[in-house]
């Protein structure tokens, strides 16, 4: 990076939105700058990696390629459809009062399945609260995810069972856990990789930038995977940065790349290359998956207050699932029977989730006092005993 190449580069107001509406993937990196030298050495190749256009056309990229069997392609399709269906079912369950909240991944299926399916079993994932698709790839039961949104626990699954860490709500803090974990992998002499998911909003948190520093300094095998879904609740990405986020990495001395986050093939290709990079002892890498949050931030949110239907319409044309379906059809890699089967399977999944959530029991009151410490704590014991006595006073007075 030279001084001039970014001197004063800043996003023209609204540029991202307009570009999105036009279906363009060009970013503000080379838009006109004010009061500073314009960007020189503009990249010769497209700034964003894409292997499947919004229309489903397979294209090539000078650096990233992928060659999947029909089976694998169908697998990705199935993953995305099932994930979307389960996600939609969870949102419905929230409306029915069965969940307290749901954070939908609608629109981000390709970013999650493409990266999730690139991982090895021994790799380790640190998610945010929205990585239902990655969880799916890791074999985490969707019902586990529902537990915390229903409010029966704060997560509660065993991260080591699928090498998929607990959901983390405090924005950005998991990127440091991922970095520390990767430092441990390195100490163990293993060639596993670690992947930390985070959002465009999270890129502003001190913790995320400290994670960049630690990972770079220790050369830790961690991929920072930013799903830039253009929104942090109501704030567009230009409230977090004035240049494309993948460029953040360069300032910390490791490579960053932007990929079309709605293109499952490109995401997989880029993630595979990044995994290879970090496994080979080259230190961390940043992937920015450029995508769009099609739903509300969570079921508590009302996006009509801050964004336009036209944006949504433009992004609907880039839907990750439709795109792959067209490609599968073009390739003759899938027929109606396959699509029907996936549909049927997703009905069954939705049913299982619905029934599973509905029958999920509430924890007992005494569980409040469990698992606060691994080795026990006198105060907890005291409070547990006092509460049990308090509770039994009701039982007594009510005569059962």
């Amino acid at each position: 990076m030279t001084v001039e190449s970014t001197a004063g580069a800043r996003k023209a107001p609204g540029a991202a939105k307009k570009a999105a509406a036009r279906g363009s993937t060009k970013t503000s990196g080379s838009t006109k700058t004010r009061g500073a030298r314009a960007a020189r050495n503009a990249p010769a190749k497209p700034e964003i990696v894409q292997l499947l256009t919004p229309e489903g056309k397979r294209v090539s990229h000078p650096e990233y390629s992928i060659d999947l069997t029909s089976d694998e392609l169908r697998g990705l399709y199935r993953d995305m459809v099932l994930t979307r269906r389960f996600d939609g079912e969870a949102a419905a369950l929230q409306r029915q009062g069965e969940l307290g909240l749901w954070a939908s991944l609608l629109g981000q299926e390709a970013a999650q399945i493409g990266s999730g399916r690139a991982l090895r079993d021994d790799d380790y994932v640190f998610p945010t609260y929205r990585e239902h698709g990655v969880a799916w790839c890791r074999g985490v039961d969707p019902l586990n995810l529902c537990g915390m949104f229903r409010g029966v626990n704060h997560g509660g699954w065993d991260p080591n069972q699928n090498n998929f860490h607990l959901y983390t709500i405090v924005i950005g803090s998991q990127t440091l856990h991922a970095t520390g974990y990767a430092m441990g992998v390195q100490k163990d002499g293993a060639d596993s990789a670690v992947i930390a998911y985070f959002g465009d909003g999270a890129s502003s948190q001190g913790d995320v930038n400290e994670a960049f520093t630690f990972a770079a300094v220790y050369n830790a095998p961690v991929i920072f995977f930013c799903q830039n879904n253009q929104w942090a609740i109501s704030e567009p990405t230009d409230r977090q940065t004035r240049v494309p986020l993948y460029q953040r990495a360069g300032g910390f001395g490791f490579p960053g790349v932007r990929v079309d986050g709605n293109d499952v093939l490109a995401v997989m290709a880029v993630t595979r290359a990044a995994l290879e990079h970090v496994r080979s002892g080259n230190g961390p890498m940043l992937i920015e998956a450029f995508t769009y949050r099609m739903g509300a931030h969570t079921t508590s949110d009302d996006p009509t207050r801050y964004r336009h239907d036209s944006d949504l319409a433009a992004w609907r044309l880039k839907d990750p699932i439709t795109r792959l379906r067209t490609h599968l059809t073009d390739l003759d890699a899938a027929d109606q029977a396959f699509f029907d089967a996936v549909e049927k399977e997703s009905d069954a999944l939705a049913k299982r989730v619905r029934e599973g959530v509905r029958s999920m029991p509430d924890p007992g009151a005494m569980e409040m006092f469990e698992h606060i410490y691994a080795d026990g704590h006198a105060l907890v014991d005291e409070e547990r005993a006092a509460f049990a006595e308090y509770q039994s006073s009701f039982v007594d007075s009510e005569g059962h």
């Binding site: 915390m148 409010g151 704060h154 405090v170 948190q205 001190g206 913790d207 409040m368």
Partner: protein, 324 residues
């Protein structure tokens, strides 16, 4: 006089402040177009512009750190922390900078920064959205900590907090956001740091604040049915804490129960118990009893009704105190 919910009273108070003082600026995550996740800042950016109602990057330390800088330049920032559980990334800026800079400068620098924090449980939320971290700040010299329990206090105490030349942590009882109350914008408000007796009684005092004032009042009513006369003190200010009002009450009643949602261990009740016992040693007919959160992370929402001090738990403490 208009009846409005607390959330509207705060909105009205912010509006008044923006109108009255061009140096007041509002900042935080999603406070602009969205009007905040609770709509507390609804409509303010539209009316006052994004220069005065500022959507910030997603970084709490940055919010408080830049608020300090704005205050140094003569502004009066009102910064929002979206939820109680997200104040911790800003803890260093609050405790080492915001709280100490006035002293560091031997009084030459003033930091009129208000930090608004929706706090407390009972809204069925996921982790980190239901906490009561007020004790951390009350323990910290250089900060003031207040919390209204009704619409009028929400309106007026926020006015006073913004006018104060000291940094004020303004804790808003989010579970009560939609409780309605009268607001008289022409009233002469009580002092910001005065406690208030909100129900008179002679057998026992309940001291509480924020979301539990309502519960304490219900407890007083229920106790009255059992023939016990319970006084309720709404503390309103946690730093400084109005021990004189509380002492006077306990000298009358001889018994004190303190209730808060925050964990009991080192919660405000600990300080109140210690200090009131010292002040009223010969008046107390029972030890000061405390009702509050357990020494546990705030539980998942399906357990919060068990976790939160409710009418029964407050009455249980009242009964135990009266039984001494």
């Amino acid at each position: 006089m208009t009846a409005m919910p607390i959330v509207k009273a705060i909105n009205a108070s912010l509006r008044t402040a923006l109108e009255n003082d061009p140096k007041v600026v509002i900042m935080g995550e999603d406070v602009g177009k969205l009007g905040g996740v609770f709509r507390v800042t609804d409509g303010l950016q539209k009316d006052f512009g994004d220069d005065r109602v500022i959507d910030t990057p997603l970084a709490e330390s940055g919010i408080i750190g830049t608020a300090i800088g704005l205050a140094l330049r003569g502004y009066r920032p009102v910064a929002e922390i979206q939820f109680d559980g997200f104040i911790f990334p800003a803890f260093d800026q609050i405790v080492t900078q915001l709280a100490k800079m006035h002293a560091r400068s031997l009084g030459k620098v003033k930091l009129p920064v208000v930090v608004r924090v929706p706090y407390g449980g009972g809204i069925g939320a996921v982790e980190h959205h239901s906490e009561s971290p007020e004790a951390y700040f009350a323990h910290t010299a250089g900060l003031k900590v207040v919390t209204p329990a009704n619409s009028a206090d929400a309106y007026w105490m926020l006015q006073q907090a913004i006018q104060s030349d000291d940094p004020v942590l303004f804790f808003e009882p989010k579970a009560r956001y939609y409780d309605k109350g009268e607001v008289n914008a022409d009233a002469i408000p009580d002092p910001l740091h005065a406690a208030r007796v909100v129900a008179e009684g002679s057998d026992l005092t309940i001291a509480t604040y924020g979301p539990l004032v309502k519960v304490a009042l219900e407890a007083a009513t229920a106790a009255a049915e059992d023939g016990h006369s319970v006084e309720v003190v709404d503390l309103r200010s946690l730093s400084p804490l109005d021990f004189d009002t509380l002492q006077a009450s306990v000298e009358r009643t001889g018994r004190l129960v303190v209730a808060h949602e925050a964990p009991v261990f080192l919660g405000l009740g600990a300080e109140i118990a210690a200090r009131i016992t010292e002040r009223c040693f010969y008046h107390l007919q029972s030890p000061v009893l405390r009702v509050g959160g357990f020494h546990a992370p705030y539980p998942p929402s399906r357990l919060e009704d068990e976790y939160l001090p409710d009418l029964d738990r407050v009455l249980d403490a009242v009964d135990r105190a009266l039984a001494y």
